[in-house]
Point group: C2
Chain length 287, copies 2
């Protein structure tokens, strides 16, 4: 059975492990802090790859940043990682085939093959964490758009330049539905600038915290309604650390009342914390 | 050369003509008022078809309403046409093959094959009229979603239940970007309830009318930014009676400044007023 060395590259952590074509993790999970400079990141990739490449058939990267349609390079900038990172020549890192995919896309693929959206041809994954990641599966294929950058959940929630988004524009879904968005909503409703997402979640029975969470969840609902009307999907998968604070049943019921397309499901991701590596490995192995 | 009898079914008018595989109109354009009842609509279809079917190879409908993925029936309700219309058994109308597609989807396909988005694999058409229609072409194929209902431009522009949408929900793109949306925006900004879109357009040099048009165009911009971030398309095509009042050059420049995906074009539709019939005919003829 073939094997992939999977490497997940985030702005703060890098993970690696070995994965088989069933999406099973069959090696140790190795964990590293993401080095500050391009040279150090490349050195770490070389170290991981030289240690494992003899035992695997392909190298599969799940990385932050949009990945091109030939799955060998990064498009544009990637936020909080060394600014030269997008110039990485991934193919040159190994004599084995190297495959690169965006982490959110890879995670959506893992859900599609072994997780919550298995058997459903049309699904959209929303990863609710510090930011919001997106991965779109259409007709059983990962949707990447003309250059590979598709699936950015930066559509507007309002048009009056109310809340700045990390993307440089204003009022994107990410600025409301993310953990950072919840904190901003909490600040706006409570009038307190030092309120945290933990304050809200740990005190969710207090009326003001309840109102904050409901406002945040309603923003997620409104975004999901738009996606369902645009895509007519089988399901929307919610993943990421913030997904556990969403009342999925309530969201699904309310969204299905408001859409003009056909009924769809909202489900929680089930492929686990390493779904980025699993999805990249499955794609790299042709699964 | 094969020929299609094309029939365009709208809530107020029904058109028919003959179209060849190049998308050329080779018959007279016949025009009818849409009858009030299901029985009368069916009788009109029979009349049109019996007159022309001997001269054509297929019957191609471009119709209001979402059309299923087998292109032979309508999903759900269709607004201002006889309420039994979605039960129409299109295949039974002729001994020749009958093909049905949603009018906005068909028009998007016409643009893709013979119009402004020709040669571009990824395009989204927005038809700005009384409402807003949408048609999505991905990887040179019409995108329909799991049941055929995709491409509904009912994503939210705000989340505070400000403006009711025709779909029953609130604050959809259609409620702002359409002609009806421009009238509502004009009412809100001017404080006058009897202001019309013509008042705005005919007096667009007056500061208040300028402000109304700019607000309306900014809503279109915000919606387009979201679609470009979700789809990473080659282009967005604007069609419909309201499209001529949009400053496309300005929209394209501003949208490309704000997106996180890759540069895209905004173009005006060029396949003409009968693009729905042309697109349906091209699809029915396998073009």
């Amino acid at each position: 059975m073939k094997k992939a060395l999977a490497i997940d590259v985030g702005g703060t952590k890098i993970y690696s492990t070995i994965i088989n074509p069933k999406g099973e993790i069959i090696g140790d999970i190795e964990k590293f802090h993401t080095p500050k400079t391009f040279v150090e990141i490349k050195a770490l990739f070389n170290e991981i790859i030289s240690k494992h490449e003899k035992d695997v058939d392909v190298i599969a990267f799940a990385t932050c940043g949009a990945v091109n349609n030939s799955n060998d390079g990064i498009l544009g900038s990637t936020g909080n990682i060394a600014k030269e990172y997008p110039t990485m020549d991934f193919k040159s890192l190994s004599t084995k085939p190297v495959f690169v995919e965006n982490d959110a896309n890879a995670a959506a693929w893992a859900e599609h093959i072994i997780g919550s959206s298995k058997g459903m041809p049309y699904s959209i994954m929303l990863t609710l964490g510090t930011g919001v990641g997106g991965g779109i599966i259409l007709n059983n294929k990962l949707y990447k758009g003309k250059n590979g950058a598709a699936g950015e959940m930066h559509f507007k929630m309002r048009t009056d330049k109310h809340r700045k988004c990390t993307c440089g524009s204003w009022d994107c879904f990410e600025a409301y539905a993310s953990g950072t968005g919840l904190k901003k909503t909490a600040e706006e409703i409570s009038g307190e600038s030092d309120i945290t997402t933990y304050d809200v979640i740990d005190n969710k029975d207090r009326p003001i915290m309840k109102k904050i969470l409901e406002t945040w969840q309603n923003d997620i609902l409104e975004g999901i309604i738009g996606l369902a009307n645009i895509f007519d999907p089988d399901c929307i998968v919610l993943s990421g650390s913030m997904a556990e604070f969403v009342d999925i049943e309530c969201l699904e019921k309310e969204a299905n009342k408001q859409i003009v397309t056909t009924p769809f499901k909202i489900v929680k991701a089930s492929a686990g914390n390493y779904s980025g590596m699993i999805g990249a490995a499955l794609l790299a192995l042709g699964e």
